[in-house]
Chain length 173, copies 2
């Protein structure tokens, strides 16, 4: 894979732009090495305790939630524009019933530092290890947000993943 | 002020880079319109509930904490390189005892949407309204982080500020 490691700030603008449309691919894995992928449209990038951190929001009902709880890490993969149909698909079916990698010809390759693999076709990949998490406090979420996004009370958990490295295709560095 | 409004993703890389060195200037205000400024080196930028958000970390012991609790908004101001001595100073003295704006010739101008003003000399300014907050849960913070940053138990509150607009100098747009 012809990728190089870059500073976490280098593609943060591009990452947040694509996160909003079409979305990013969040990869996790089970203890025995079976990976899963889901689409995320929300998240944060920044710094706390002098560590670069990617914060992702996952609902407890998601299969990804179980996997991150099991292994404590994840990767965030930034798709190319021509992958938008794949990104859409990965946001609509669950890894409990589907092997989305196989169905969509997504090739996973091992990460350098974490158990969750990265997606080869994605030009930018963040390897993240969970260092903190917090469940959204329903009493502090704005009322209009509750009725729009949490009518069934399935509040997101925010996972703070230390960015251990970022890989990017040589052609975009 | 010759500034224009830009997309929140446009300068996020530059903002996170400068946040780490020399730091950014977080401005808040009291109910009766007396502003304060402190330096921040930690924070996050991203999206939740389809809203662009700047997350800042403030300890309850800070004067800024009292002001954000009072008025529910803040601005984040990105300094120029030649302001690094000012940024350092604003991280070392409290607004309870000092008028840092006067002492360092920082000119504040009214924001467009929030009560907290912005700093004119800073080329990029984020106007933010608090839509969620969470106190760090000491039981979930890594042990080595507790001993390094919280020996006295003064855990940060994370304020999630919806970015209502971003201003940037015309020369850097």
């Amino acid at each position: 894979m012809s990728k190089v490691e870059v500073s976490f700030v280098k593609y943060v603008g591009k990452t947040l732009e694509l996160m909003q449309d079409p979305g990013l691919l969040l990869v996790s894995t089970s203890k025995d090495g079976k990976p899963n992928v889901m689409t995320i449209g929300w998240g944060f990038i920044g710094v706390i305790w002098y560590k670069p951190v990617f914060v992702v929001a996952v609902r407890p009902s998601r299969y990804t939630y179980k996997l991150i709880e099991e292994t404590g890490d994840f990767t965030v993969n930034v798709p190319t524009e021509d992958m938008s149909d794949i990104v859409e698909y990965c946001g609509t079916v669950s890894g409990r019933d589907h092997d989305k990698f196989k169905e969509k010809n997504l090739k996973v390759v091992p990460s350098k530092y974490v158990k969750s693999p990265i997606i080869e076709q994605c030009p930018i990949n963040y390897e993240c290890k969970v260092i903190y998490k917090t469940d959204l406090d329903s009493s502090k979420v704005p009322k209009e947000v509750v009725s729009s996004f949490y009518p069934e009370g399935d509040y997101h958990t925010l996972y703070f993943g230390e960015i251990l490295t970022v890989h990017a295709n040589k052609t975009i560095t």
